[in-house]
Amino acid sequence: MEITVTINGKAHTADVEPRTLLVQFIRESVGLTGTNIGCDTSSCGACSIHLDGEAVKSCTVLAVQADGHDVTTIEGMAAADGTLHPMQQAFMENHGLQCGYCTPGMVMAATSLLNENPNPTEEEVRIGLEGNLCRCTGYHNIVQSVLACAKG
């Protein structure tokens, strides 16, 4: 069936199968491959995006469910002139990434976390990110990145 999803401010219309996941639609139909896939049990959070401003795992949403909705992916975070989003900048400055595979999802989850709780404690950051797995960083610098971003 035909759906229209606004992704990073641009409307994308495509014919999708009912079983197509939103993450597949984003990666394959729209060609935005920054959103990663790390599991098949909605456990890892690598696929996190913003759906109408809130972080969701895009492997848990059918593409058809996003019809008429607003999606932001990692590609939509930096400014048009290439200036990194403050969260991206904080990850860079605090070495919050190594291989980078979890990173798009982490950045999307972390920005959503700060939207809800602009001044989290370290504990709140750790709990807030518990749906996103990272195998490289041990989370230490990811948590530091989010706290640094919150401080501004």
Binding site: D40, L97, Q98, C99, G100, Y101, P104, R126
Partner: protein, 795 residues
Amino acid sequence: MTMTDQPTGVLGSRMLRREDPALLTGEARYTADLVVPGALHLAMVRSPYARARIVSVDTAAAVTMPGVRAVYSGADLADTWAGPMPCAWPVTEDMKNPTHLPLAVSQANYVGDAVACVIAETAEAARDAVEAVVVEYEPLEAVIDLEDALSDRVVIHDEIGTNRSYTWDLKIEETEGACDAAFAAAAYAVKERYIQQRLIPAAMEPRAVLAVPQPFGGDMTLYSATQVPHILKVMTALTLGIPEHQLRVIAPAVGGGFGSKLNVYAEELLCVALAKRHGVPVRWTETRSEGCQATIHGRGQIQDIELAADANGRLTGLRVRLIGDMGAYLQLVTPGVPLLGAFLYAGVYELPKAFDFSCTSVFTNMTPTDAYRGAGRPEATYAIERAMDSLAYEIGIDPLELRRRNFIPTEKFPYEAYTGLVYDSGNHDGAATLAAEMVGYDELRERQRSQNVPGATKRIGIGLSTYFEMCGLAPSRVLASLNYGAGGWEAATVRVLPTNKVQVVTGTSPHGQGHETAWSMIVAEKLGISPDDVDVLHSDTAIAPLGLDTYGSRSLAVGGVAIAMTCDKVVDKARQIAAHLLEANPDDLEFAGGEFSVAGSPDRSMPLAAVAFEAFTAHNLPDGMEPNLEAHTTYDPPNFSWPFGTHICVVEVDTETGETEVLRYVAVDDCGNQVNPLIVDGQVHGGVIQGLAQALFEEAVYDSDGNLRTSTLAEYLVPAASDVPPVITGHTVTPSPTNQLGVKGVGEAGTIAATPAVINAVVDALSGLGVRNVPMPASPNTVWSIINAAQGGSQ
């Protein structure tokens, strides 16, 4: 962060990573992100049985499904392979290595073993067709228990007639019988059994492969999420019998490896073989469940360790018996993993020549094991560090004190160990002292005494781990003595372009380590230019044809040093040119800040940029000199490098729930000089949490029929941020004397040190309750049952 004596300059600065912007914006391309029109999708038919005879494979229904191009059984492709899947480490002459083909032909030997495959126009079509392939199996009894495997009650592979792959001994005695004599004369002795559970590496990026035939001439480009593009190229050529020079392997952005991508896998070989056969690109992307089943596992050992000590607690003898779980087949370096640990069983301690090690490795009906972050060294370190705590308990002294009595004294470095290996440098007491200070060791022991009173349900435990890491793999001759099938050198090229920009070509293949940043810093420091003017080229065998890739904490200590040495060659050549143009003696030229100047007459100078342009135009070079400013090095390290450190973990165990809370974790690591402390700390953080995860959370669980019970990330407990503590890092700096950068390596240190530190802490917390050991992972359930058992089931 605490640190002493770190050099300053570009080298040693906390430079932000140049890799990050592409990764942070989603612009980086992992293998599965590459768009290649017309690629067919591969999907694998995998055995649901741990051991079964393949009676028949019926592909008729699958092949007629929409979008399906072809379906192959193992028998259909048996003639495709010029050789079996490679094992590069035949550790003994008589090692048994059962035939391992990308698709099994007559018998499947673990759940997930591939028996057939499909190629189709879409991934969905391929997956749907997998369901329609009808394989008739005759299930056979599976062997899961290591000691049962050893008994040969059921032999897994008929062709080798036993489950025993090899026995490898390392007995080092001053005089014959010295080890037994040490035990006979010991004032104290401990005998312990530890189980290294199987682990699933779980790099966040699943494996992915894309083979693309090139137009005309039969060339093939293989993209793979691999740590080892160079090794993969050689092995793919050998296994498929295709000319190596027509194969190009590229590792695009790679999302972590931890050893699991240090291999040659069936899907890589199948993609190339089928792309060749069908003349179209073929791709495959692993699902996580496939990753859990058919990407290598780590660890998997039963360790029996015995320590003998004199009345002062000084070690006098050490005996180790290992059973290594190879899984169903030998992968690339499977049999060598226990050997890598063999040399580290005495850890950082002085041991006389009274050492008796033997490892027997067996086949089981489980996923093949292979190198996982640390590879043999975490296992060895775990055994000695746990046993040292037992010995301290036996003697009745503080575990830190026991370690201090046994440390190799700093003034004895370089130190020739009982094995004959020379430890280049060390300062174990220094690292331990700093860690103890940082954690507040004495206060903690006070607090422990007042808190862990009889009846207390929240008990404090303090766990130490003082470790040595043998890394910088490796001197080629040492590898030869261990029967390893390749060398340990690394290659580098440094090319100064006419506009004074620099290209560095490295044979290392990063997948999160930040080599582009670190290597550019080395070159910047050596050539006196900005790191921004350095481009680092890697992970593509057409651009970087020589290399031995990234594993075993080797990249900096071998590959980075190769780059520094190459910069020296570039400067030497540039010096000749500058001297010629300045009409000076080359020996009178000083090189600093990217500029040559004549000693004593600073007005006579020439920047490297000008030299590079002169080298390019070649209008006026010294007689006989070749144009261009470029040099190459292949560096074979003279020794391993020997990072070390002390980690201290503090836990509180709730005896009513069995829950362990990590209160504090301090890691003091000495990896010699640090190129970029930001990256070093990141490596330590990640390594520590991976090691802690083995201690507290992770285990690949099989049932007695050989079904993997943890085949998704919902069941296999990779910890989340909320499960783990912050890691407080500190460093001492003891430069390696064997290389010009004074560097050692840090990729695996955290994983090696952390596991015993955490379990030592848990056992320490419970020592007042009669608990002497806690198996891993120390889940609340396990800890609770152990307490209960120790209390005679009365709790």
